[in-house]
Symmetry: C2
Subunit: 233 residues, 2 copies
Amino acid sequence: MSPQSFAAADFMEKAKISESTIRRMSHYYRFLEEMEEEGLETISSKKLAARGHLNPAKVRKDLSYFGSFGRRGKGYDIKLLKQAIHDILGVTRKWRLILIGAGNLGSALFYFGEFKKAGFEILAVLEKDPAKIGQEWHGIMICSVDDLEEVVRSFQIDIAVLAVPAKAAVEVAERLVRAGVKALLNFAPIKLPYQRGIIIRDVNLAMELEGLTYLLKNGQAPEFRADDNILSS
Amino acid sequence: MSPQSFAAADFMEKAKISESTIRRMSHYYRFLEEMEEEGLETISSKKLAARGHLNPAKVRKDLSYFGSFGRRGKGYDIKLLKQAIHDILGVTRKWRLILIGAGNLGSALFYFGEFKKAGFEILAVLEKDPAKIGQEWHGIMICSVDDLEEVVRSFQIDIAVLAVPAKAAVEVAERLVRAGVKALLNFAPIKLPYQRGIIIRDVNLAMELEGLTYLLKNGQAPEFRADDNILSS
DNA sequence: GGATGTGAATGTCTTCACAGCT
DNA sequence: AGCTGTGAAGACATTCACATCC
């Protein structure tokens, strides 16, 4: 921000935006991608809402937390709004990831194209099993988990993706945090103990299923339910 | 319920329990498992809450939606409470699953032990790629996705797990619903259009990461944030 | 005494409804 | 006229605080 610019940033209250809003922003982004591919140029909150079975007012309010992106009477410019959300979510910056665990899940995550597409780059893979250490995945050498601290530091890792067994997860998570990782996406089927100064998101596949079975069991009219969230533990 | 019993069920309002409560129930269940393994027999709402960085009152309220499981002055019997939650979540019944997509993600899901442990059994695997059709995974023959309707019916599938590319997801989902599947756990990176009478949960890995980066970018004091949810799209 | 279960208070999120811009 | 942006109302979720029971 240039010195002569209005010093807004200093007192611009960083209103605490809710988790759900951020989730929906991710959705909007993807809907806009779809619409752009269809050749559309502008979109109304009504249509954007319809795509996700949401209320138009909610769409507008979500967006309004971050600024005014639309034009009254016209709607939102798809390209512009897409870019804005991109920036808001922090996807503009390339994030440096490490993957711990080169088992089935690890390999699925590694080869899951969406990560790279969304600006997340897996720079290193660690594994405990000596049989896998030294193998190469797509040009990346699998290293020993013993070298965790060194790898994290030399690659300046931001985010770690944990795809290790539950038993190993707690210890690995602690080491990652000490080594300076700032966020963890945990796929181990265990809720990691909280630690100050780090952002953890647990993703537990079995729990997702349990959410479904509860609804099934209770014959819940599903219409608009069970969608708002995801792989979260 | 026997005829002479108090006819409670008829008007026992199935109070709509929130998604978050159900999620937490899944958590409680896992915490109780941990505690049982440690040899504990009873637990207070305070300690149970501490394990998940929650408020004790919330734990008690969550449980109270379903009944009174504790003993005043004493706490909750771990075994009993575990069983109760098990029933509540509908995990008692074995659920019959089909997996669509035998790629990296499909195979990771298939071999992910937590599913079976939690009472979910994958009875069939479908795939489009002819090279994979006919292979066997752990005694289960991979079939062609062309046979979807037949397989769903003959195995009486309850839930389908989608691990297919985004492009294929919508069509496959429609076929699954028509064939009688009641719930979908969707890993394809697309939000499926809503359909009446079916429960869909979208799990989008890239979106989970975007939730993290938003917090990282904004230097959010992470302490108690970013945990409540998961693999949700 | 110690911990549950729960009405009431508080806090947060969603939806309404309309002023205001194009 | 059409659609955004937003205060205010309403719905929902969380937390407090205490009566109740072991």
